[in-house]
Amino acid sequence: MPERAAKFTVNAPPHELWKFLRDLEALCACIPGVERIRLVDPRTAELTVKEKIGVVPLIVNLTARIDSEDPPRRLHATASAEHLTMAIDVTLEASGSATELHSLFNVKGEGPLKPVVDRLFERRATERTAQFAGALERRFGARASEPPPRENWLARLWRCVQRFFSAPSPPSS
């Protein structure tokens, strides 16, 4: 299952960045390839994403839903489409007057197009993450940092253990 972790320092305090993340229309305007967005409810949006492979566009209709959140620190969302499911984890950490944004995208291609979806995500994820960071920089004057190296299984396990023992917060309604 392809995944990508990234870290940005955004020139805004956590609560301001959180407000932005929870404004799905504003957020999606910063995500490369999003062509259309329709808000279903405050936690759910339908998106049309166009990812060009050379000259040929792959058009994906996604439903994104925030599954759980711990304002203004952590958010977990799931986006699903006909050929893929994407799990998104976002964590915000105050860093002086700025905020460090940690994101982890985990994509699972499904059905007959799985090999194409997985390969495309592997090829494009880093570039698209950098574009997203650029969009945040334009909006907040953020300083984008290099995505961290991909974690090995031990590091992932350690992170899961840490999460398990951290106090879970109920999702806000």
Partner: protein, 518 residues
């Protein structure tokens, strides 16, 4: 004797499938009628001691980049590849030439010697479709074929996708005429199709043509093609798999629509508690080994209609005292050291006509020649300073007058044609020659029916979702516990182990085995 799985046929697809299954912990037996493993990966000293000739497969285009190479760690099992610096050299009757390069700009510069517009078109094709081919072609080779409806549904969403669909429906000649103006450029790219057995005027081949324009790798297996089979066997046996060669399967045991094992020609029965997997071409697998009485009538009809009528190859295996020096090299030096030299006449019409002649049982008198000297890149395949060459000429399987009397004369005719391009290839430079006419190819490996080296025609009605039959492209069959894994399945003939890999994926899923690979 009882195993979890019995695989019939130790060609590279059978061995790859068996290796994937064995690594799940299953108990697997591979039975092979021949004394050797490898099927079309067949290297032997066919002329003189020390001269290794590849009797069928010469190049393994996709293997080094495939999941099979990575998953099975074939490099650790002695399977290594070398890459020629220059990919192909198309030589025209006037001794001009086009060399194929990996790098877009070098390739465009080469084409610009014939047409600046064609060079620009090539650059644009790489920009527009290069990544699309990279992102889709290889992944889709190593997974079961897409239903046509799904493929169409994705493409028809955009104008560019719809244009691609129309190209897909066209013939290679139509596509090349639309894209390029120079006859030489068209001949060069068309040969990339016909050399694989795709007819130049067959509708529904445009997509393949586009791929062949943009992709042309030529990895050569060090030590000869057979090394791939040895590596696969090594992986398999290391996991506890058993290979039995020189053992013929008489029939597949079917009871209550379930395959339960095989009966060998010697009379022994071998049980398969989970499944039997056949790497044998469809007519022999289903009409002979299974028997029509165990199959639905509609399936039997599909099997009977599976066809292998395309062009086959008349092959010369030569032991040479020196490599050929082409006249064309005077103006384009890399021609001499490209992976292959291809002489397919001076016009698109020449290739179309050759295919028409072959269809009526005539061997083309004009050159439809591809020459490869593996020893230019892998010195281990011949004694020091000497070379092997494989000469391919497009030819019919069923020659009107029969190959018996014609083969010697035709071989000499081809050597004469070759000499007109490479004058140093005089008789004294040919130390020994083995002629392999299309009937010999079938005798060497009867999966290659009618000498068709891709295990059944690669025509639109027998590709992708329709290979081998509509509704049966998932490697499963109407008999429970019987699976297909040969080149007659998607993604087709050629040495890439795609069918073996994909069949293993489906079997592992069906039997809920541990899928140990990514």
């Amino acid at each position: 004797m009882t195993y979890d799985f019995v695989v019939i046929g130790a060609g590279h697809n059978g061995l790859a499938c068996a290796a994937y299954l064995a690594k799940t912990g299953a108990k697997v037996l591979v039975v092979e009628r021949a004394a050797r493993v490898g099927g079309a990966c067949h290297t032997e000293e066919a002329t003189l001691p020390g001269f290794k000739h590849n009797l069928c497969s010469v190049v393994h285009t996709h293997i080094p980049l495939s999941p099979v190479y990575r998953d099975l760690e074939l490099e650790r099992h002695g399977v290594k590849y070398v890459y020629p610096d220059y990919l192909r050299g198309t030589i025209f009757p006037d001794h001009k030439s086009i060399v194929m390069y990996r790098e877009t700009e070098r390739m465009a510069a080469e084409l610009s010697r014939y047409s600046a517009r064609d060079a620009k078109t090539f650059r644009q094709l790489v920009a527009d479709y290069g990544e699309f081919i990279d992102s889709t072609y290889l992944p889709l080779m190593y997974s079961p074929p897409l239903p046509p409806s799904l493929q169409a549904a994705e493409l028809e969403k955009s104008e560019e996708g719809r244009a691609l669909m129309q190209w897909q429906a066209s013939t290679p000649v139509q596509l090349l005429n639309e894209l390029f103006e120079s006859e030489e450029v068209k001949v060069h790219f068309l040969s990339r199709m016909t050399v694989l057995g795709f007819a130049p005027d067959e509708f529904g081949q445009g997509w393949i043509c586009l791929f062949r324009i943009l992709q042309a790798e030529a990895p050569i297996c060090v030590g000869g093609s057979q090394q791939l089979a040895h590596g696969l066997r090594s992986v398999f046996e290391k996991q506890g798999g058993v290979v039995r060669t020189g053992v013929e399967v008489k029939r597949i045991l079917v009871r209550s629509n379930r395959a339960g094992g095989v009966e060998l020609a010697e009379g022994t029965r071998v049980g398969a508690t989970k499944a039997v997997v056949t790497n044998v071409e469809p007519k022999k697998s289903f009409l002979r080994l299974v028997g029509q009485e165990h199959l639905p009538a509609s399936f039997v009809t599909r099997v009977k209609n599976y066809h292998s009528h395309g062009r086959s190859l008349f092959v010369l295996h030569l032991a040479l005292s020196e490599p050929p020096q082409y006249r064309a090299a005077a103006q384009n030096a890399p021609v001499n050291v490209a992976f292959s030299q291809e002489m397919f006449g001076g016009s698109v019409e020449d290739q179309v006509r050759a295919y028409q002649e072959i269809a009526i049982g005539r061997a083309p008198r004009n050159e439809m020649l591809q020459i490869t000297l593996p020893t230019l890149f892998d010195r281990s395949q011949a004694p020091a300073g000497k070379h092997t060459a494989v000469v391919w000429q497009y030819a019919p399987y069923a020659l009107l007058e029969g190959w018996g009397k014609a083969r010697e004369e035709y071989a000499q005719h081809l050597l004469g044609l070759w000499r007109s391009y490479a004058p140093n290839m005089t008789r004294d430079k040919v130390l020994a020659m083995k002629i392999q006419d299309p009937t010999d190819t079938e005798r060497l490996n009867d999966n290659l029916v009618n000498g068709v080296d891709v295990v059944g025609d690669m025509t639109p009605d027998q590709m992708g979702y329709f290979r081998p039959f509509a509704g049966w492209s998932s490697y499963r069959t109407p008999v429970e516990g019987l699976y297909m894994c040969g080149g007659y399945c998607h993604p087709g003939g050629g040495v890439h182990a795609g069918a073996g890999h994909n069949a293993a994926t489906v079997i592992v899923e069906d039997f809920k085995l541990k899928r140990w690979w990514d």
